[in-house]
Symmetry: C2
Subunit: 342 residues, 2 copies
């Protein structure tokens, strides 16, 4: 796996169980997965020679993130390496404009979008869709970075002043964000859940994805709209570690290794997951005792990351018989880990 | 964790989840846990200097096996190291005669036993209990090694000729072997399950055990008898990885780190586990596809061990709604992995 963040860390747990040899290409030995994984190789994922050397020691190469340069992916494939998902599929996670064009061509519902090169283009889009306007980096964004919600022409002008290629999207008012991994979501009408699954399956098939595909969707009054794609395990599926018979990490490994998939059934009636963010107090481990004592059923996951305010450093999962109760337990534990306050 | 076998390997998965720094002291880099664990230190667990150097890098030292020499454990404690379970408790897993004396003193039911130094002692015991007679190494045995069931005086003489200190036990005819971890076991009367739990709790309390304690018992027509103790995660508890809300490996870590224990509830109505043994064909991974395709619900665990006939190289777990069905699925998958035959 290229990249050694928390996704690689959790994938390593699944690989250990399956007895599958697992290597990570890490930026540094302190990366989340590098801390725990014996098969850590340090190197630069933007360097083709580092990638070549890493791939030479692997039967199959897969990814913790979507930032490996596309020409390098193509070069690995040309050299006969097994790259999964393929360079052709990964393109649509790296170039958001290509993704929009492709999905629109397939008839998959997406927000309205337009290429923009200057302020005049933005003004024209805003005349049609109204403010705010969303500007998105064509490539390189993740976790909300590379996305700017502009309320005014002046804010848009400031974004356009960046040396970053962007395109414009309408700002979508939505009731909920979904990921096809978690549909049906609580309170989601069955018809919409089915639609989300259908969109995800169509995208996976048409784009030739091997391995996990997460399709982020906006649920709006007018229907579902595809927001983003990720071709890897995804934050929205972390609940599957305890909450499903087969975790997303194990499924990803099985898929990229061409093994049959595992039983995806839920392991409990209700499962809730909450992210843990760093607060101002770095002593998160000191709060373990209290969280564990307060709720023996909450499952804790810390990623070995240093604590910085607002940084995602872990998650907690609660299983239970009712959704509000499970969610409240997960949220409370996550908040306490972050701040030491209920 | 001193030792890098499969128990350490599975404990490393739990430590990764909890974000707990985890080191193993491995005999070699090819040990089961050393293959996957970034915190691998190679060294000799019979060397006090290697143990000292390893312990100096750990907050708490715990164990994958019971073979660290008792004087070394005492020396680590005297140097202020946190050894869990303590040297005083571990003594009863290392010296089986001391274990028998201690448990008998507590009134815990055990097989009849006697110290023996020569053939005359064995003959005297056999006169009371009848043949066969069980001879056991006082220390150093595990997984059936160091236990000899002798049908005749000649067989006993052959054992006594070994340069190994042994004692004698009556041969117990039993209906079932139990481990307190898995009581209540299928078909076990509730009263006997309660008795097994009571015995285990009494042993844990009286011997001052910190961490997992597995009490192996014989269920006989005359009642329960303690067979062996293990103060560590135990083969009989591997089902807890998927079958319980908190695995035995996570519970062991929580206990030795003085953290509150996790929810021990079962995650499914029925759970069955079967060991995978090496056969004559080393290509066990080539059979993964078939086992996964035949039963997506079977969870596979291979330990990264080279295949030798009869060697324990992994286990499989099946969750289900009925015990005979779950057991049949687990046994079939394990047999197929071993031999390629149903």
């Amino acid at each position: 796996m290229v990249g050694a963040g928390q996704l690689a860390r959790m994938t390593s747990q699944a690989a250990t169980g399956l007895g599958i040899g697992f290597r990570v290409l890490a930026d540094s030995a302190t990366d989340s997965a590098a801390q725990v994984c014996a098969g850590t190789v340090t190197g630069d994922y933007t360097s083709l020679s580092d990638l070549r050397a890493f791939a030479a020691r692997c039967d199959v190469v897969t990814f913790d993130h979507e930032h490996v340069p596309a020409p390098h992916l193509a070069a690995l494939e040309q050299a006969g390496r097994q790259v999964r998902p393929s360079a052709a599929a990964l393109r649509y996670t790296q170039d958001k404009l290509a993704m929009r064009d492709r999905l629109s061509g397939l008839g998959v519902p997406c927000p309205r979008y337009a290429t923009v090169t200057d302020q005049a283009d933005v003004s024209k889009a805003a005349a049609d869709w109204g403010w705010p306007i969303v500007l998105k980096a064509v490539s390189g964004g993740y976790d909300g970075r590379g996305v700017w919600v502009c309320q005014t022409p002046a804010e848009a002008a400031a974004v356009l002043a960046h040396p970053v290629r962007v395109f414009a999207e309408e700002h979508v008012g939505f009731d909920a964000e979904l990921a096809a991994l978690v549909a049906p979501a609580p309170g989601l009408p069955a018809s919409r859940a089915v639609q989300a699954q259908r969109i995800a399956l169509e995208v996976a098939g048409e784009l030739g994805v091997t391995g996990l595909l997460a399709v982020e969707l906006f649920s709006t009054s007018a229907g579902l709209l595809v927001n983003e794609l990720a071709m890897r395990p995804h934050n929205s599926g972390h609940w599957t570690i305890e909450g499903a018979r087969t975790s997303q990490f194990e499924q990803h490994l099985r898929a990229v290794l061409d093994l049959p998939l595992g039983d995806p059934r839920a392991a409990a009636p209700c499962v809730a997951m909450a992210n843990v963010f760093g607060g101002t107090d770095p002593g998160v481990y000191a709060r373990y005792t209290h969280v564990m004592a307060a709720d023996p059923g909450v499952k804790l996951h810390l990623y070995g990351k240093s604590v910085r305010p607002g940084r995602k450093i872990g998650h907690v999962t609660a299983l239970g018989d009712d959704m509000p109760g499970a969610r409240e337990r997960a949220v409370r534990a996550a908040a306490y880990l972050a701040t030491g306050e209920e």
